[in-house]
Subunit: 542 residues, 2 copies
Amino acid sequence: MDPRTGQAVGEPIPESTEEQVAAIVEAAATAGRAWRAASAADRAAVLESVADALLASADDLWRAADTETALGEVRLRGEIGRSAGQFRLFAEVLRDGGYVDAIIDHADPGLTPPRPDIRRMNQPLPGVVGVFAASNFPFAFSVAGGDTASALAAGCAVVVKAHPGHPVLSELVATVVRRALPAPELLGLVQGADAGRYLVQHPSVAAVGFTGSIHGGQAIQRLINERPDPIPFYGELGSVNPVVVLPSALDGDVAALASGFAGSLTLGVGQFCTNPGLLFVPDDDTLIKAIADAVAATTGGPMLTPKIRDGYEEGVARLALGAVPLASGQDDALAGGVVAAGSGVTASGGATSGGVVSGGAMSGGAASGGAMSSSAAPGGALAGDISGIGDAVPQVFVTDMDNFAGRLPDLAEECFGPAALVVKYGDVSKVGDVLESLPGSLTATVHATDPAEAEQIVPVLTRLAGRVIWNGWPTGVAVCWAMHHGGPWPASTSPAHTSVGATAISRWLAPVAYQSWPEALLPLELRDANPLNVPRRVDGVR
Amino acid sequence: MDPRTGQAVGEPIPESTEEQVAAIVEAAATAGRAWRAASAADRAAVLESVADALLASADDLWRAADTETALGEVRLRGEIGRSAGQFRLFAEVLRDGGYVDAIIDHADPGLTPPRPDIRRMNQPLPGVVGVFAASNFPFAFSVAGGDTASALAAGCAVVVKAHPGHPVLSELVATVVRRALPAPELLGLVQGADAGRYLVQHPSVAAVGFTGSIHGGQAIQRLINERPDPIPFYGELGSVNPVVVLPSALDGDVAALASGFAGSLTLGVGQFCTNPGLLFVPDDDTLIKAIADAVAATTGGPMLTPKIRDGYEEGVARLALGAVPLASGQDDALAGGVVAAGSGVTASGGATSGGVVSGGAMSGGAASGGAMSSSAAPGGALAGDISGIGDAVPQVFVTDMDNFAGRLPDLAEECFGPAALVVKYGDVSKVGDVLESLPGSLTATVHATDPAEAEQIVPVLTRLAGRVIWNGWPTGVAVCWAMHHGGPWPASTSPAHTSVGATAISRWLAPVAYQSWPEALLPLELRDANPLNVPRRVDGVR
């Protein structure tokens, strides 16, 4: 379906039957044996071929994606570059070899008791990785996204459950990627909700990756709980991404702070898991007016699917029940605007560090100023009549700390889309206690000009979120060695793991220890001569 | 209860109520805040004090343990040394600093999009670690065991659910450890099955460690599945630990092979999770006779609890239904023997590499030779009348490959205790296929004189088990940097993690990424000057 018109496009894609899913998983498992046995260098070369294939098909790919997502050429080309960059980063990870975490303890017959020779390194999980694609990144978190790239890098075959928001694109991407793989069965693709159930319950599936809603993640967890074996489930779910503006931030550029917030909030029509949904601010009229003005200058756009749009309306209604409207953005459709959703996102090209720039998505448009009336908040301004599935309009609400604390957890629940709640505090010493009571998030952000002012809340923030940000905005997740994109529940199902960055590969690995093992049968990474020159710890010393 | 007499000893230990468990967990959570904030060096010093305290109380501790477990002075002193050694190893891990996995990517404004400064390191999980103690290692896998040591090292407070097999010892060990902690609440102790339920469902518990049966692990997993948040569960469960004797092994010392097997099988009355329960051998009369003779020369002893003894009887009966008895050991009680269970275990002293020596536990006794009659197998010879809860007698059965393959999974189920099944193969090329169909194990062992002979089955073994052993025996788990004590389900609930060795600490850690964070607020491990000199990856380079 085209989100701009609400019309179906192309032929319907049939849903996969249970038999089809089983055949696809079993073919992947068989192909996975040879892939698992391939050297890291061979796997790296294949990943680079996949990156090349994606870039070579970028013209076809962005058009197919735009038809089903309405995300626009600039954003989509950038996202293809980011996806290719992820494959390249994992090729680099494989060549480096540190991902196997090689550890060698030589035999020590002088110890009591004597110690045999023990050598340990990571190996691919013994089975197929199931991946659930996300709606909001049709490349970077979908068929050729980070879960697929990291699982293939680890040495596992992958079967993706396509997102129903872009089924045609999913088939096209799979075809492009398969051309670069030594066996097409290494990347399976299944369609339909039932197919997802068959996938996670197939005995050959060894782990599952997922990016989506808390509700969706819980449903998959329940299906996994029905298995006899409790396979790992790496879900990246919902996150409200609190931002704390400390009093010293008022000494800085307040207008820039307000426009940075509005830009991060409305990037890609707010359809980012790192979108800042909760802003704690000093009770300062100038700042709050600046925020209202900045939000009023933003523009909405079509959301990805009717389900996401409905969820946004529900979330806005929940906020409207507990807080007062502060400002809303413009309705792109009603304004006759042509700014596609997310068009402000900078293309990332093919760099391995590709990522979405934060704060760069301020759409043009005149400030409407002031707060809209409470009664108008949940309904009218949300959906433009002339667009297919209805444009979403940015909506920001405001309340005070006592009201917020009294309406938890409702007011801290994620509203997926360009909506946020501004919470005014009088006494900064109470902010830490309220942060303690929030659910886990992917990110937590501080704005301040004086680091000392943040000392008290830093321990709270690092328990609350997987990434903490100083004087920045949470949208924009750099693909690099140090990135951690995860966090305590409900931000993720497994707080120790990330779905973005080099260490995402560790989700699909498990160690094997070799005791008194003959040199000729050891993996190259564990042989005395270290022929691959991988980083190792030997007898306790790195 | 004293396993030697079956009589209750001391005053009954009351079970913890729900209110008591909540108070203990909440006190641990509060004390955990300061512990989490303590430097790695300060935590290391505390761990070494705990090691000193355990060794200083060894005289009292082994006596208390012997009363409840009948494991004997030599084994128990050795195990106290091993436990102290684990605390010392984790002190070393903390001072090394590699456990935080520090990664720094400096800002790169020249990239498209520009990359901010991102620095990542592991932090303690935000909450209390719940630990379920095991029966069979009253020190090394109990209140002061590896789970507790690694969780305290990580920076988490711990609440242990005592094993009902040694409740008095558990209280004594907790008292000894607490004297060395900065706050006694950092190590809570609860008693009773209901207390375990309250513990895993308490909202302040962030992760759970467990060593025990598959059935017990599944019960805990179900309780965790009822939580709103899916906390990590690290269970080390059942394992049949297959051993493959390849044809070339017949060129070696067959008698030593047979006695090594019998020794590993009967070590500690077979009450080891790494006990070799399944032995694939060429259909060779000399080898099989040697195995029968070696087993007949072993002696049984009292098991830890009546429940474990009953489980052993059931397991032996299951084997007797599907296979033929090959040999049994002597009944220590009927023979009037005084060899305490596991007395052959070498004391490990205080070395960090302390471990149980494999193959050193052959009790004396005349070989009875030959196979006992099938009808006598399950019942009579199992329990000596004059001992308290009944001595277990080693029992080994034999069958061929076709019968074995036809009775899976029954014949590959773990029988906790000194029982094993010998499977004779005619065609070595079929061994790999049968190994493919086994459940996951902690270990898999190969005996051969020619490494080339094992090439075909190595890929199968490394998918099947977390540790592979060459010409050795699986009992004996060295505490060192490279150890991996885990494996695919049902060996463990989380194949990527180990419960023994330096990397066991990673179970209780999760990364936090700091983006554009001020130097003054960064942890020392991530500051530019690297004042703690921890191993790091900076801009992709180690």
